[in-house]
């Protein structure tokens, strides 16, 4: 088989394998050759990005199902297969993952100086795992990639992180692992029950999962190295919400519908709680971490509106959050590298000293708030529209979250960038260098592009999300017709079994 044909038929598998192959090759480079290791990794991630472009090109916006599917039996006696595919739901999240990688790698140029080789190996393994999560269409495969993400992330936080990195790394691992092994039992139960997956199940296990996501990752965020934070914000959090959309809600529609009031309340609480806690943070990174909680609250609210607008808004907002919050963490990283502090009180009046940095920071801040013309606005607006249709009051309360976001972001921006320069050290700050501008620019471009003309992105989601919503409704109706609603499904299923 020629290379082109291989690429043609196994495009998605190549996307999964490429970073892993890169990581394996990296092992052969000498430890001291930091420069070569960095360049090689950057090259791999850029190659991965270029290879991912044909996915968008070949993606048929009119088709609602999985595309570019590859299917190989893996453990056939158990019906486990290697199946990968992409649809309108996963397309942009996948692209975001691949797009953010070279940017992240570039941002580590001066931030990561010890054990560069291992760092880059873990980054590439992480990329394989994350791409795998978004492409896997087999629950078993999905779980494998899901868990595979934990190991490199654990090392990235634990070795290259900040002060309390070990505590954060272990906490991150234990919380996530505990959540995911319970998910595994659910997967197994589902596996034996798959023939009547008409939604006879409960969100019970997932509920725990949802509850822990926003709060548990605070320490991981703050203690993670900048690159770790960017990945954590840009992709890992999306894995949770993506899991909801792709598996939890799709597989258990009745249960999802039953639990909607609770989840919507939690989402709104997340929005307000994240915003309020962000407001009082002294540390910029913590502030950004808490703003993530608020953003993910929006995503959840959108998902659980179960309509086209809400879900498309949520998917777009996942991508937006990846771009904006990723960019914010990079901004924090840039400033931290120069001053080795992230306390808001240490800064002030920076706009005069570092004008380019100031401009970038401004755009990213506005995008995070969701000002019209930036990507954040489109996502939040769609979500609020979708939510308003089904649960009006949640939308109304959630909308106040936007105001809070403006308050804490702008207040922080003002304290850092404007006013008098109170600290001598800030006078000597260097502005962004070419490398930093190079990785920031693509992010700014997408912030404005999605903000002004989101159509190309939304168009490719339409068919899939439409199909999703239709299927969801149909399944829900069928299940409701067959069984009384609201009965605890888990109990019933296992009573029958025994």
């Amino acid at each position: 088989m020629t290379g082109v044909a291989l690429l043609d038929q196994h495009l998605l598998s190549v996307l999964i394998a490429l970073p892993l192959v890169g990581a394996a090759l990296l092992l052969f480079l000498p430890r001291e050759a930091d420069g070569a290791i960095r360049k090689f990794t950057l090259l791999v991630t850029i190659a991965e990005f270029l290879l991912s472009l044909p996915v968008v090109a070949r993606f048929d916006a009119a088709a609602g199902g999985m595309q570019l599917v590859e299917r190989v039996p893996w453990i056939p006696q158990y019906g486990i297969s290697y199946i990968v595919g992409v649809d309108g739901i996963s397309l942009w999240i996948l692209m975001l993952t691949i797009f953010i990688m070279p940017i992240t790698i570039l941002s580590t140029w001066s931030a990561v100086t010890k054990n560069v080789k291992e760092f880059m190996v873990f980054m590439l393994v992480l990329e394989t795992a994350m791409v795998g999560v978004f492409l896997a269409t087999d629950l078993f495969l999905f779980y494998i990639f899901w868990e595979l993400v934990l190991i490199p992330m654990y090392f990235l936080i634990g070795v290259w992180g900040g002060e309390r990195r070990i505590y954060a790394a272990i906490k991150f691992f234990l919380y996530t692992f505990a959540g995911s092994v319970l998910m595994l039992v659910a997967i197994i139960a589902l596996y034996f029950h798959h023939h009547d997956v008409t939604g006879v199940y409960t969100m019970d296990l997932m509920k725990l999962y949802e509850l822990t996501i926003p709060v548990k990752l605070q320490d991981a965020h703050v203690e993670a190295p900048t690159a770790g934070s960017v990945i954590l914000a840009a992709v890992l959090l999306k894995m949770g919400t993506y899991g909801f959309l792709r598996f939890a809600m799709a597989l258990f529609p009745v249960a999802a519908a039953d639990w909607t009031p609770l989840i919507a309340v939690l989402a709104v609480i997340g929005i307000l709680y994240g915003a309020l806690v962000a407001m009082v943070q002294k540390d910029v990174k913590k502030l950004v971490a808490y703003s993530s909680v608020a953003h993910l609250g929006f995503v959840m609210l959108g998902l659980f509106s179960f309509n086209l607008l809400g879900i498309e808004g949520a998917i777009l907002q996942m991508v937006n959050h990846g771009i904006s919050t990723g960019a914010l963490f990079l901004i924090v990283g840039i400033i931290y590298e120069r001053r080795h502090t992230r306390l808001i009180s240490e800064f002030g009046g920076l706009s005069k000293v570092v004008p380019v940095f100031s401009l970038c920071f401004m755009v990213v801040t506005l995008s995070s708030i969701g000002v019209p013309g930036t990507n954040g606005f489109v996502g939040e607006f769609l979500i609020l529209l979708g939510a308003f249709k089904v649960h009006k009051w949640y939308a109304v309360v959630a909308a106040t979250g936007v105001i809070f976001a403006a308050v804490y972001m702008l207040w922080m921006f003002q304290r850092v960038m404007y006013g008098k320069i109170t600290n001598e050290e800030n006078l000597r700050l260097a502005d962004m260098n070419g490398r930093e501008i190079a990785y920031m620019l693509p992010l700014l471009l997408f912030i404005l592009w999605i903000g002004v003309y989101p159509q190309p992105f939304l168009r490719r989601m339409d068919a899939s999300v439409n199909a999703y919503v239709t299927r969801f409704e149909a399944k829900k109706q069928a299940a409701l017709a067959g069984s009384p609603a609201g009965e605890p499904m888990l109990v019933r299923y296992f009573d029958v079994k025994k």
């Binding site: 453990i75 779980y143 272990i170 691992f173 234990l174 319970l182 595994l184 197994i188």
Partner: protein
């Protein structure tokens, strides 16, 4: 009494059936004889002799094939199950001997009796795994255990070694007593010690509910529980594992477990379905207690050997989950896990053996500080084995646990599966602790220099690592082999 006629064909078939055992015993004797003849400098050859003998035994086992061969009028049988466990045990012995090449050199166990005891014990394990008669099982168990008591106390000048050996011996002797008493009670009711015959009688004679019979089965279970260290019969394990020469610890943890679980599987799969829920409920409780106590105790350990000892208890609990279900799915998952455990356990012990400078204090977790980046291969290998022990994909440990808990869920034991996965979550903490020390904590003072690696030792580690990865990514054919093995047992 009429004399039993001499049947030459039956004898030949019987000997053929135990061909691998014969090879192992012959090797053990050859090692003893060679020890007399070899000069002090040439003692290394003893180990090589053992390795060669074990390799031939593996070939012998393979040449027998998966078909059923009865030996000695149903006392012992070679079937699919026998083949699977025979291969597992022989691989354990082979890897142990490969590691012993290096270990004996550092720790002064370069002696004929060390290797021949290892080999005799291996032969005992093989008999135990293939015994279809409770007497064969008992004889195998004793042949396995007595050399191990000696091996645990092989470092005669170290108190921990002697303490471990004495504890193991005393409690093990009691366990043998329980087992034998159980067999006697069962015999008193059924008039036979053949497992299939007993299984056939349970329904006919309404043995279920017969207090003498039930007590016999219970005592039998206690005997096995001692050997695989199920809670509350695990008290000897940490001391014996910590005191024993590390290479013996690795051998015990993997080999004894494989043999004892094989025998237990034969008994449970054939007799427990007819005995109703009482027995499976007992197994359920034992599995839960063993997992939980093992994992919680392991959390507190600072000595790597002791930590792996408690982890070994926890793993016995996981394997027992596969026995609770008394069906093909559970049995096959248990068999598969026994094999997987052998590789990851031997691998982990192998790496810490290289990194520790001396027995006892050398295994303190603090000694591993900073090792990861200084010795990337060893650090990476230990991480791999620990990750597999914790049951994280894409390693064999994950696939093993996946099938154990799937079998539980399939048979409606969702509660046990949930307890099992929560236990895995707890175990992650102590499995990752050495990783924290190796990679994340700043090194205080000198980073210990690992022992110089020998080719044989490296081969053992590479084989274990490759097996952990291959069984984690492409477990298909081995799983199918395990399934056929269990089916052959039920035929």
């Amino acid at each position: 009494m009429t004399p039993i006629p001499f049947d030459k064909a039956a004898l030949v078939q019987g000997l053929y059936c135990i061909l691998p055992e014969l090879v192992v015993i012959a090797t053990a004797i050859a090692v003893l004889l060679a020890d007399l003849l070899l000069p002090e400098r040439g003692k290394k050859t003893l180990c090589h002799l053992g390795i060669a003998g074990t390799a031939i035994a593996i070939l012998a086992a393979l040449s027998l094939g998966p078909g059923r061969i009865d030996g000695f009028s149903g006392m012992i049988v070679h079937d699919g199950m026998g083949l699977f466990i025979t291969l597992t045990i022989l691989v354990v012995a082979l890897l142990t001997l490969l590691m012993a090449t290096g270990y004996s050199e550092w720790e002064g166990t370069q002696k004929g009796e060390f290797y021949s005891l290892l080999l005799f014990s291996t032969a005992g394990m093989l008999f135990m795994a293939k015994g279809t008669d409770l007497m064969t099982v008992f004889l195998g168990l004793e042949t396995m255990s007595i050399p191990i008591y000696c091996l645990v106390g092989f470092h005669r000048d170290r108190m921990t070694s002697l303490e471990g050996a004495l504890k193991y011996f005393l409690l093990g002797a009691f366990a043998s007593g329980f087992l034998l008493y159980g067999i006697a009670l069962i015999y008193s009711v059924t008039g036979t010690t053949k497992i299939p015959a007993i299984a056939g009688m349970i329904g006919d004679l309404r043995l279920f509910g017969n207090p003498v019979f039930m007590m016999g089965v219970g005592l039998l279970l206690v005997g096995f529980a001692f050997k695989v260290s199920l809670v509350p019969f695990h008290m000897w394990t940490p001391d014996a594992y910590q005191g024993a020469p590390t290479v013996v610890t690795a051998f015990m943890a993997a080999g004894v477990k494989a043999a004892a679980f094989a025998a237990l599987l034969r008994v449970t799969l054939l007799t427990f379905p007819a005995l109703g829920p009482v027995m499976t409920n007992i197994l359920w409780v034992l599995a839960f207690l063993t997992m939980t106590v093992g994992n919680l105790s392991a959390l507190l350990q600072d000595n790597m050997k002791r930590m792996l000892a408690y982890s070994s208890i926890a793993h016995a609990g996981y394997i027992l989950v596969g026995l609770v279900t008394v069906d093909v799915a559970g049995g096959q998952a248990a068999l598969f896990y026994v094999l997987v455990y052998a590789f990851m356990n031997l691998g982990a012990f192998g790496v810490i053996m290289l990194l520790a400078h001396r027995e006892d204090e050398g295994y303190d977790i603090g000694n591993f500080t900073g090792v990861g980046f200084r010795y990337p291969v060893l650090g990476g290998l230990l991480t791999l084995f620990l990750v597999s022990l914790a049951g994280i994909p894409p390693t064999a440990g994950f696939i093993g646990k996946f099938y154990l808990f799937s079998a539980a869920v399939k048979n409606g034991y969702v509660g046990l599966a949930v307890l099992g996965v929560l236990n895995s979550a707890v175990s992650v903490y102590y499995y990752l602790r050495p990783v924290v020390y190796m990679y994340m904590l700043p090194a205080q003072g000198e980073i210990p220099v690992p022992r110089p690696t020998r080719t044989a030792f490296s081969i053992a580690l590479c084989v274990s690592a490759a097996a952990v990865l291959v069984l984690g990514i492409a477990p298909r054919s081995v799983l199918a082999f395990a399934e056929r093995s269990i089916l052959s047992l039920l035929m």
